[in-house]
Point group: C2
Chain length 313, copies 2
Amino acid sequence: MLAPTTVPMPGLPERVRIYEVGPRDGLQNEAAVVPVAVKAELVTRLVGAGLRTVEVTSFVRPDLVPQLADAEELWAGLARSPGVRYPVLVPNVRGLDRALAAGVEEIAVFGSATESFAQRNLGRSVEESLTMFAPVVATAREHGVPVRAYLSMCFGDPWEGEVPPERVADVAARLMALGCTELSLGDTIGVATAGHVQALLDALAEVGLGVERLAVHFHDTYGQALANTLAALQRGITTVDAAAGGLGGCPFARSASGNLATEDLVWFLHGLGIDTGVDLPALVATSTWLAAHLGRPSPSRAVRALAHQPSPS
Amino acid sequence: MLAPTTVPMPGLPERVRIYEVGPRDGLQNEAAVVPVAVKAELVTRLVGAGLRTVEVTSFVRPDLVPQLADAEELWAGLARSPGVRYPVLVPNVRGLDRALAAGVEEIAVFGSATESFAQRNLGRSVEESLTMFAPVVATAREHGVPVRAYLSMCFGDPWEGEVPPERVADVAARLMALGCTELSLGDTIGVATAGHVQALLDALAEVGLGVERLAVHFHDTYGQALANTLAALQRGITTVDAAAGGLGGCPFARSASGNLATEDLVWFLHGLGIDTGVDLPALVATSTWLAAHLGRPSPSRAVRALAHQPSPS
């Protein structure tokens, strides 16, 4: 079968916006630098498969993340389609300046719900990171540029263990108060389970952050990403992050830590009769093509199942 | 983190019975025959990890399924624990006779919801298979032996495509009318999605088959098994089939078709505060041990994530 039987569940949204993070979140974790032409083709293929929001790259320091050192070159060579959103990540004001100079129209910043990860990933406290983001968000908004905020470690932290929903809600509210337009709740180490997802969304609603400004960002480390997505949809979430082919972690590495695969998500949503705009066979073909470039199979179960089935035509 | 944060969801059961199918459903698909001593140790380790129902083997014709030709030897050598259920599969009256002679106390039969799979797997029509099962179920019950019925292809069939819930409900009702005590709804090719699961359970309720006599049996071919499990729990299901380590299909084969991994299920259920009685580290150690015997890594994401984390002690 090349598509699931469509059977809706009452109370779920009619349409879900998939925020595709593969080119940035996925490829930044590759050991070898992917050629810029391959990256550009990946973005173009993803848009061709129907994805309407594709995070392209990060304007981060080239010496810190050599995988993304080609941000300007990639952006300049990208044939962008009307109606498609091409956000980029910026770590700070220098990154924002580069992104604005390149003509970027939408950005994202990357914060942490925990002190341990803020110190390790951002080199500063949660408080100091908010101070760092303030001028980034303000300047972006002055330029009419929407700002997504990623909040990582929303469900658990490898150094701190459990992360209380109330702490996440506190940091989330302060990030949004800076002027961010959307908040993506990151389960960076994949430890979230379904009840925890709903409890966090409830805690966020209590501080005034309704689902219309929220997205969920699950990793499939423990196989929970789709069950968590169902729990989130049941609370009204309509924006879900995913990476084509499950990019973002090697399934054979010490701890599998890939993003939710866009193909697994699309199969799930289409089975529920939820519109995504995505052409699943075209997306599978894209991930299969990229897997050949990366030299290893996609960890996505839907890709593995669909890549070898005969085409209906 | 070695365990998820526990956050219940309202309306879910307090306890779930995991019906472990790895030794039978998993190992029957192995290319090489697994030594009987390894099988016995597997069952013993699974029980030691807290599983309270473990399907041991199938009393099938040795020339047809050489992987399970050691059924009598395995059963005779098994050190059984009090309070644990050790069902076996029997294909027909000859298999039942062998099982009863061996002293088996609980059996399962294996039917199909579709004509195509009945013909290919059982060599007869759905009607003829019910006729074949009738004396098996009757004789077993006369001996005080409970009978589980597996019903395969409940959500989709590779030859027929979509399988209507009403057809499944019809075959299910007739199987149960024979005297079966439990029915396991099999998504043999892994195509079920969450709304479809609830629609099938609703169709079964309409023909008088309530969730208290039903189990769900999902395959993770498209990554949907846990989301489907959540949908089933929300309808009141309390028995869930799974295979330790995701046995039952090779993740690198043409189409990944493994069972839901027991470890992924346990992580999910414990995160929801649902009691399973299972010691997850002991189960992971069992799957890691078996994977070494089989010469390939477990496809379970939880096993991969947990097997390499340091023990807390």
